[in-house]
């Protein structure tokens, strides 16, 4: 499988990364290199191997359902670019 320039532009758009025309070519080459690697790995026979959802052979530790976090809004909002009435303000977004 190889990516077209349009694929690269679409991925960049989904990831909210601005890329110019020269970069598209560079990323296309790099990403296709990675796809080549994946293709090589896919040649391995994994029929008898259980799919792995994490690199560590451990299970998730669970936290007791208790409220432990105090209100630290003032500290968090001190580093926010803009706030009002306790809200974080962001450029208008209407879908």
């Amino acid at each position: 499988m190889s990516l077209s320039a349009e694929d690269v532009e679409r991925i960049a758009k989904l990831a909210r990364i601005r890329v110019d025309a020269n970069e598209v070519v560079a990323y296309q080459t790099q990403l296709n290199g990675i796809f080549g690697l994946i293709e090589a790995m896919q040649a391995a026979d994994t029929a008898d191997i259980e799919p792995m959802s994490h690199a560590q052979d451990l299970f998730q530790r669970l936290r007791a359902d208790v409220v432990t976090e105090p209100d630290r809004r003032a500290a968090f909002q001190a580093i926010a670019p803009q706030t009002e009435n306790g809200l974080y303000l962001v450029p208008k977004v209407i879908e």
Partner: protein, 486 residues
Amino acid sequence: MQWETVIGLEVHAQLTTQSKIFSGASIAFGAEPNTQACQVDIALPGVLPVLNKGAVERGIRFGLAIGAKLNRINSFDRKNYFYPDLPKGYQISQFALPIVEGGELTVQVVEGGKTVEKTIRITRAHLEEDAGKSLHEDFHGMTGIDLNRAGTPLLEIVSEPDMRSAKEAVAYAKALHTLVTWIGICDGNMQEGSFRVDANVSVRPLGQKEFGTRREIKNLNSFRFMEQAINYEIRWQIEQIEDGHTIQQATVLFDPDSGETRMMRTKEDAHDYRYFPDPDLLPVKLDEDWIEQVRAGLPELPQQKQARYQGEWNLSAYDAATLTGSRALADYFEAVVAGLAKPDAKPDAKLAANWVMGDLSATLNKANLDIPASRISAAQLAGLLARIQDGTLSGKLAKQVFEAMWAGEGEADAIIEAKGLKQVSDSGEIEKIIDEVMAANAKSVEEFRAGKEKAFNALVGQVMKASKGKANPQQVNDLLRQKLNG
């Protein structure tokens, strides 16, 4: 052409934990903006999610309650999209290995006056986090973000496309609502968004095997809107097709003011979520001991109760379903039945059912109260019904006692005593009244004897009136007929 509707539902049930799914912030409703949004919820760099055991436990409860398969190993994935109320840039959800797979829910649907049972299959249920809220009112051209809701644990319950009408979809949604509140995993408060429904709706010519193209109606937060929205959508889709258009896959919103659905986005700009396993979270293991412990803590479920009411107490399927409409209602009903228990015979559950579903429900509705707020306790109602059973009260007198009880005038026996509402069952006394009435209404007596059955009812009415409604109606009927024929 005959059309068939196909509906599948996705329900987001907010779980009744104290803290968030991946952080120790509170999920209590109604707090000041951003006071319950900690460093994990606002996604400061370097923070890590730690899974809440209470959320997983509620997922297990649900899976057991619908007879589903619990994935002993389940895992979390990242669902990627950009929106300011999702500060990480992805939602943590379960995609490849959800906690619950399969299962089903049986619902009662009224069709043409008949109650029909239908089983709706559930595809899966998975744990995920909620997003924050965007407030679009004007902040000098900016949008306000409240992240208190970000990280609130949700169970998304996905059904198979098994429903064929808005009515069926509502019946399923209601049954699911009853179940999640019954087993205590969700408070079911739809106004506060604790139980949100998305409906996938399509139509196809009756008999066609393939599904039509579906449109998804988002965020239905009442059963009434849900039925309206689905019915509007069905009509709209049929009209489009009959006018020669094709349906485009889309997401739509329902506007309760206009009663219409309107387009939010089409398939072209549908999200591409690029799911992948979240490396911050290890797979979750459900061990058998834990599952058995959760199973042991489950209450008797609505369907189990329904079967018991029908089998043990000979109630109809309709009565059994109505009485198990909520856990509080079922508990109340069972307490009334227990109050009627006698050592030598089965309690008269039908009498209890009639009063709970009839007078009590009507009175509660009128006062806009739920069963836990009833001004008449189950024990009080049982006390009243016992006086019907032993013949002290006629149905009519019982209603008077019921009203007095609701008004806070005390126990049934005290009200009967104070108001002199005892039914007259002394045949001598009733005969005396009948004689008087027959003497005063000679014309009606003649008419009856001439074959006019109607005159009989008029005479019964006069006797009841003369006794101030206290004469035992059955006895009046029997004695009057004897005298007229004798």
